[in-house]
């Protein structure tokens, strides 16, 4: 299980208090939640009561057996609670539903805390393959709408992970308003990303106070999660933008085959893999000596919606496609030779004395060696949102990367200003979030922020 469960292996069991888990904080102060949805999360009418803590034992055992086979993650169950949130180094699932939320006008600190408690409660259950509340789909009053929307009834957990994040505007609005009394806790590095060369950003496709990443091997399970969490939020937060993704474009574990993006190339060959715990600790997660302390065990998430100009790419000759990427299309080997996992040799030259890997090839400009050793844990997904008004596929890569510091992404993205690939892509959406550490059972995601 530990191999498949990097987020909740022995080193990061809930008992381990290395992260900034508060002592008995707001969770207990507000009545021991999240042992149930708040009144506003459920309006007090469904017997959610004691169901909250049922998610432990049986589900945990199932995870052990299900996750034992790398090739069959469909029945995997990942623990929700732990020192780090699941869904970061968890082997990337096949499907994504991602949503960014804005808090409601007039919502205050208590509303935010209560929302996070409700989300934690529901997420802890859904990730174990359970309904939002016990009997929530069809077991409630016939006179009331069901507490769970029901489309995941009978489906396994499908490896569902639900990961929460906080955008810069949660801490203070663009106008500097401190709506939730947490402005002083804003990580210094959590600010809107700088402008990058070639950005075509549309404001409605980026930003947000909060985010939820739901990943699963069954799209219906991922959608069920976002749908129910959005419903729980009504009156407190609403969706600003959202993204469905199919086909992971990165591996986050050495047990996974490298998938292909919509350019047809293997993507994420050189990704940070969960098995490389030193690299993970060094590059992905905020350390206990980093600032702010509440974010220790957390991370930073950057999302970029990258539209691919598919039609132009598809009529580009193979030789040019491979030159742009810097790898061969079939195997994914660097053009400097070897196999997929051979390190690219940027000094290598062809017989004609030109670099084997072009100076503006994507693989070169994105590589840690030209980026002061910075790497990212990429977790992107392909998307096709129908077509645009010209009949072109509205398709591309929903890029997500987790890193210890936003500076890692910023540096690499600046390096990519000269990327030959830019001719075929357009960044249309951008967002950044601080990913809090995982929640201890009985507490809730984000509790250290309010300690």
């Amino acid at each position: 299980m530990s191999g498949m469960n990097p987020d909740a292996g022995p080193d990061s069991a809930p008992e381990n208090t290395s992260a900034a888990e508060p002592a008995e904080s707001a969770a207990d102060a507000t009545g021991g939640r999240p042992s149930g949805l708040s009144r506003r999360g459920l309006f007090g009418l469904v017997g959610a009561g004691a169901a909250g803590l049922v998610v432990g034992g049986a589900a945990g055992a199932a995870a052990g057996t299900a996750a034992a086979s790398a090739s069959s993650q469909r029945n995997a169950i990942y623990p929700f609670y732990g020192t780090r949130q699941a869904g970061i180094t968890t082997p990337a699932q096949d499907r994504l539903h991602f949503a960014s939320y804005d808090m409601a006008a007039g919502a205050g600190r208590d509303d935010l805390i209560e929302l996070l408690q409700d989300w934690t409660y529901a997420a802890a259950r859904m990730t174990q393959g359970l309904e939002v509340t016990d009997g929530g789909a069809v077991g409630g009053s016939p006179l009331a709408p069901p507490a769970d929307t029901g489309e995941a009834l009978g489906l396994p957990a499908a490896g569902l992970t639900i990961t929460f994040g906080f955008g810069p505007t949660l801490f203070s609005t663009e106008d500097g308003e401190d709506r939730f009394g947490i402005a002083a806790q804003r990580p210094e590095l959590l600010t809107r990303l700088p402008r990058f060369s070639g950005d075509s950003l549309r404001p409605e496709l980026g930003g947000g106070d909060l985010c939820i990443q739901a990943c699963a091997d069954d799209p219906q399970v991922a959608v069920h999660a976002i749908r129910n969490l959005s419903r729980i939020a009504f009156g407190r937060a609403s969706i600003r933008w959202s993204q469905l993704g199919f086909g992971r474009t990165s591996s986050t574990s050495t047990s996974q085959l490298t998938p292909r993006n919509l350019f047809g190339f293997k993507d994420g060959t050189a990704n940070v893999k969960s098995e490389d715990t030193k690299l993970v600790d060094d590059q992905v997660f905020v350390g206990s000596t980093d600032s702010p302390a509440w974010l220790a065990g957390g991370s930073y998430l950057v999302t970029r919606k990258i539209r691919m100009i598919i039609e132009t790419w598809d009529r580009t000759r193979l030789e040019e496609q491979e030159r742009v990427i810097g790898r061969d299309k079939g195997e994914g080997a660097p053009l400097s030779g070897g196999t997929e996992f051979t390190e690219p040799d940027f000094e290598a030259e062809t017989g004609a004395g030109t670099p084997a890997i072009d100076t503006d090839a994507h693989v070169r400009l994105a590589h840690p060696t030209v980026n002061k050793g910075a790497s990212l844990l990429r977790r992107g997904y392909n998307f096709v949102d129908g077509n645009d008004e010209l009949g072109r596929l509205d398709a591309g890569l929903f890029f997500m990367s987790y890193q210890r510091s936003p500076e890692q992404f910023i540096g690499i993205q600046r390096s990519l200003a000269a990327d030959a690939l830019n001719e075929y892509i357009k960044h249309v959406g951008s967002a950044i979030f601080a990913i809090p550490p995982g929640a201890r059972e009985g507490s809730y995601v984000g509790a250290p922020l309010f300690a």
């Binding site: 009144r39 309006f43 007090g44 006008a105 009053s141 009156g235 407190r236 609403s238």
Partner: protein, 401 residues
């Protein structure tokens, strides 16, 4: 020394009660005199103490009249005495809790309230030991009275609107369109319960065409009053001139007469002796009105040509709030869960009303919905969602054990 009174809330009809303890500030607990004429409704005092309040109604007018007590929203009826005939003096007792009310009369039981006047009830809430059946009866009685009063106001409003339209006075008709519809939109779920009436009165063109019906009613008239320009599209993307042309004078006369006939039929149906609603109808009607807002008004598809969607929006919300107000006492009787749910719903109603007030009012008119930006629409939609979630739990609560 409050005495526990075992009566339904307001409007339970004539109940003989002795007042003790709660001494109204009209001297000695004597009845409040109400002098009713065809065009006045003079209540002797504008304030009294809470409890069972006796009104002494005297009709010196020329035709039948009605006395009603409205909630602070001037819409929800908390008590009424119908059929006060000329020359008659009759006592009417209403159980009134502290708060602000409005008194009014309704000449010939139809049209706008006459002599609308604020009426304040002071003192402490009385401990009403009403059982569930009495609470339910009061909710049903008052809601039926509300339905009848709205339809009663709809009739003359439709008459004025259709007269202007049929005579070609489009400017007057445009000015009356939205406010006339408000009486209908406040009770839409009730009207929809009568099968074929709502399609005749309130169908949009796309729905009528899709169902193979003759397109009549408010929206047919609306398109004549706000005629499309060449190149304009219907809400389903078809040409605005597909199977449509401006109505001729004869057609206008027919559409006007049809709307008068259909709304009169609605009036007759809700005033029939056997017309009734259930508590579930009231509660689900409240939820249904919000669903109307969420599905039709937010998108701007309802009043496609006039852009008066916000008036419908406000009227739907008012109707939902009245229906909620009618079952509120039942909900509160269900213990802490009921109290909390009622408080949640009320605060979300307040927030929605405040948001809508930024765009106008039914009396003064709202801004054209086409000028409301997507961001503003989302804000409205978010608040409708915030209200609808707790409201959707109301039926289970009021019908639950």
């Amino acid at each position: 020394m409050k005495r526990t009174l075992s009566v339904g809330l307001a409007g339970a009809g004539l109940i003989a009660l002795t007042l003790t303890g709660c001494v109204p500030n009209n001297a000695g607990g004597s009845a409040v005199a109400v002098a009713i004429t065809d065009d006045a409704c003079d209540v002797a005092t504008d304030t009294t103490a809470s409890g069972a309040v006796t009104f002494e109604l005297s009709n010196t007018g020329t035709d039948v009249n009605e006395f009603e007590i409205l909630a602070e929203d001037k819409l929800r009826i908390v008590g009424e005495k119908e059929n006060v005939t000329p020359g008659q003096t009759v006592s009417y007792v209403a159980q009134l809790e502290p708060g602000t009310y409005y008194t009014a009369c309704k000449f010939q039981l139809i049209g706008s309230p006459i002599g609308l006047a604020e009426f304040t009830v002071t003192g402490d809430a009385t401990a009403v030991d009403a059982d569930a059946a009495e609470l339910n009866d009061a909710a049903v009685t008052n809601y039926i009275a509300y339905i009848r009063s709205q339809v009663g106001e709809l009739i003359p409003a439709v008459a004025a609107f259709t007269t202007a339209y049929a005579s070609g006075d489009d400017e007057t008709a445009r000015g009356l369109f939205a406010q006339t519809r408000a009486f209908y939109e406040r009770i839409e779920p009730t009207a929809e319960a009568f099968g074929d009436l709502d399609p005749k009165i309130d169908y949009r063109e796309v729905d009528a065409v899709a169902e193979g019906l003759d397109w009549t009613g408010f929206h047919r008239i609306e398109k004549d009053l706000w005629p499309p320009a060449q190149g304009d599209l219907n809400s389903d993307g078809t040409s605005a001139f597909l199977d449509w042309a401006p109505s001729t004078t004869a057609e206008r006369t027919a559409f006007a007469a049809g709307l008068v006939t259909d709304t009169q039929q609605l009036h007759d149906l809700v005033n029939a002796d056997d017309f009734t609603v259930s508590v579930a109808d009231i509660s689900n009607g409240s939820i249904g009105l919000l669903d109307e807002v969420a599905s039709g008004k937010i998108s701007g598809e309802e009043d496609w040509w006039s852009g008066t969607d916000l008036t419908d929006f406000q009227a739907n919300v008012q109707g939902a709030e009245v229906a909620f107000g009618n079952v509120e006492a039942i909900a509160r009787s269900k213990g802490d869960d009921g109290e909390k749910l009622v408080d949640d719903i009320q605060s979300e109603f307040d927030a929605l009303d405040a948001l809508l007030a930024q765009y106008g009012s039914i009396d003064d008119g709202f801004v054209d919905y086409t000028t409301v930006t997507d961001a503003q629409r989302k804000e409205l939609s978010d608040q409708v969602n915030a209200l609808s979630e707790p409201l959707s739990q109301l039926t289970a609560l009021v019908l639950g054990a």
